[in-house]
């Protein structure tokens, strides 16, 4: 509660409210994405009833919604201290564990939640995603030699190339960078969750991804085992970026001995059709 009071100051007066009213209004604000107002109302509710479990749970959700995992964890733990099998608190902690890279803890918490509430779709979906990640192929005892990555020609504007496995293992990078292993692992985690979401939406297995931030557009191709990811400037035309990553994909397969014949050159079959049509084709 101290945390909530520190973060959120009640607005719009201090008219008398019952705990139930405050929580009802807080839920309504939450549904509208008005997290600050919702937080202030929860703080009011906790002033009136410091041991209100619903208020603590709502406080935890609001902390997560504003991307503040530490106070959220504290609130979820408070709830579990009063109800050890509270499925939603277990799910909340599981998601924080996954964010922090602890898939083992995440899986244990989700299993606990599902033990008591087997029909808990969010927990089941997340557990499936975590299991899929764990089931990804592990590095072979005698891993193949890295491909002759220097033979893979980055496009002129290419900033970085990561070749990895679906389990996050790094095969090669260009340029060689200290954080390439971490990037490969992060990429694998992202692709694993994306594959689970696509599967849940009935869209089939993941093949390509484009992730953009303020500086870069990262084009990725995968077959569920191998991952090839190319960072280009954000202004790169998506069609060109996808063609570039396709070319590197073919070349990587060749270098790994997974494809017969010479590495494919960048497709030259980009006739004078519209950019939109070309984007559709390469995706």
């Amino acid at each position: 509660m101290t945390i909530l009071r520190g973060l959120w100051t009640a607005r719009g007066g201090r008219e008398p409210l019952t705990v139930a009213d405050a929580l009802r209004r807080a839920e309504q604000r939450r549904r509208e994405g008005r997290y600050a107002e919702a937080g202030a109302l929860v703080a009011r509710a906790l002033e009136l009833d410091p041991d209100n479990l619903h208020a603590h749970l709502l406080a935890a959700y609001l902390h997560v919604a504003r991307r503040a995992p530490a106070p959220a964890r504290e609130e979820f733990r408070w709830v579990l201290g009063h109800d050890a099998n509270h499925a939603r608190a277990l799910l909340g902690l599981a998601r924080i564990a996954l964010e922090e890279g602890d898939a083992h803890e995440c899986r244990d918490l989700l299993r606990r939640a599902l033990r008591f509430y087997p029909e808990f779709p969010e927990a089941a979906a997340l557990l499936e995603a975590v299991r899929t990640r764990e089931a990804a192929p592990r590095p072979a005892a005698s891993a193949p030699a890295p491909p002759r990555v220097e033979r893979l020609r980055l496009p002129g504007t290419g900033r970085a190339l990561i070749i990895g496995r679906a389990d996050g293992g790094l095969i090669a990078s260009q340029p060689v960078a200290d954080d390439a292993k971490d990037v490969s692992e992060a990429l694998a985690r992202t692709l694993g969750l994306a594959a689970a979401a696509l599967g849940r939406a009935g869209l089939g297995p993941l093949h390509r991804a484009i992730v953009e931030d303020d500086h870069d557009a990262v084009f990725t191709r995968t077959d569920g085992d191998l991952v090839v990811s190319l960072a280009l400037p954000r202004a790169t035309d998506p069609t060109q970026g996808l063609l570039d990553v396709n070319r590197l994909w073919s070349a990587t397969l060749h270098e790994l001995g997974l494809a017969a014949g010479p590495p494919a050159a960048a497709p030259s079959s980009t006739p004078a059709d519209t950019p939109v049509a070309r984007t559709r084709r390469v995706i």
Binding site: R95, V211, P238
Partner: protein, 140 residues
């Protein structure tokens, strides 16, 4: 930007924000080749959704929010800027994800979708959210 555009009136009064987010989702859903759209908070709470009946909303939202957070926390750990938009393409369709102040916008589309049109529409939707939710209001 080519293709369909979102045409929404900015509504700043707080009472109408619930309708505002639902309008944003409805407009995204109306775009060509789009099967469904939703806005999910970072905690997995569904703010608004229009998804086909075959898709279980809460599960989809939980995975989308977890994916969004994974993209954000990975970038943070690696000292890189957080993601703005992401696109994941599969055999039978494409999922788009965009980060906003109040959560993540998700669009599920057919394989034939006009990628640039959806990216443009998502950028507009995020801009509308940014304009309607003052900086301190959502984050607290």
């Amino acid at each position: 930007m080519s293709g369909p555009r979102l045409k929404l009136a900015l509504e700043y009064d707080s009472a109408s924000r619930g309708r505002h987010v639902r309008d944003i989702v409805s407009e995204l859903k109306r775009l060509h080749w789009v099967r469904g759209a939703l806005i999910v908070a970072a905690d997995g709470f569904v703010i608004a959704a229009e998804l086909p009946g075959t898709i279980e909303v809460d599960s989809m939202a939980a995975l989308a929010a977890t994916l969004g957070r994974e993209l954000e926390t990975s970038a943070q750990r690696l000292g890189r800027p957080s993601f703005c938009t992401a696109l994941f393409s599969a055999d039978d369709g494409t999922m788009f994800l965009a980060a906003s102040r109040i959560g993540y916008l998700v669009v599920l589309a057919d394989q034939q979708v006009n990628v640039q049109a959806i990216r443009g529409a998502l950028a507009e939707a995020v801009a509308l959210i940014e304009a309607a939710w003052a900086p301190g209001e959502a984050a607290g």
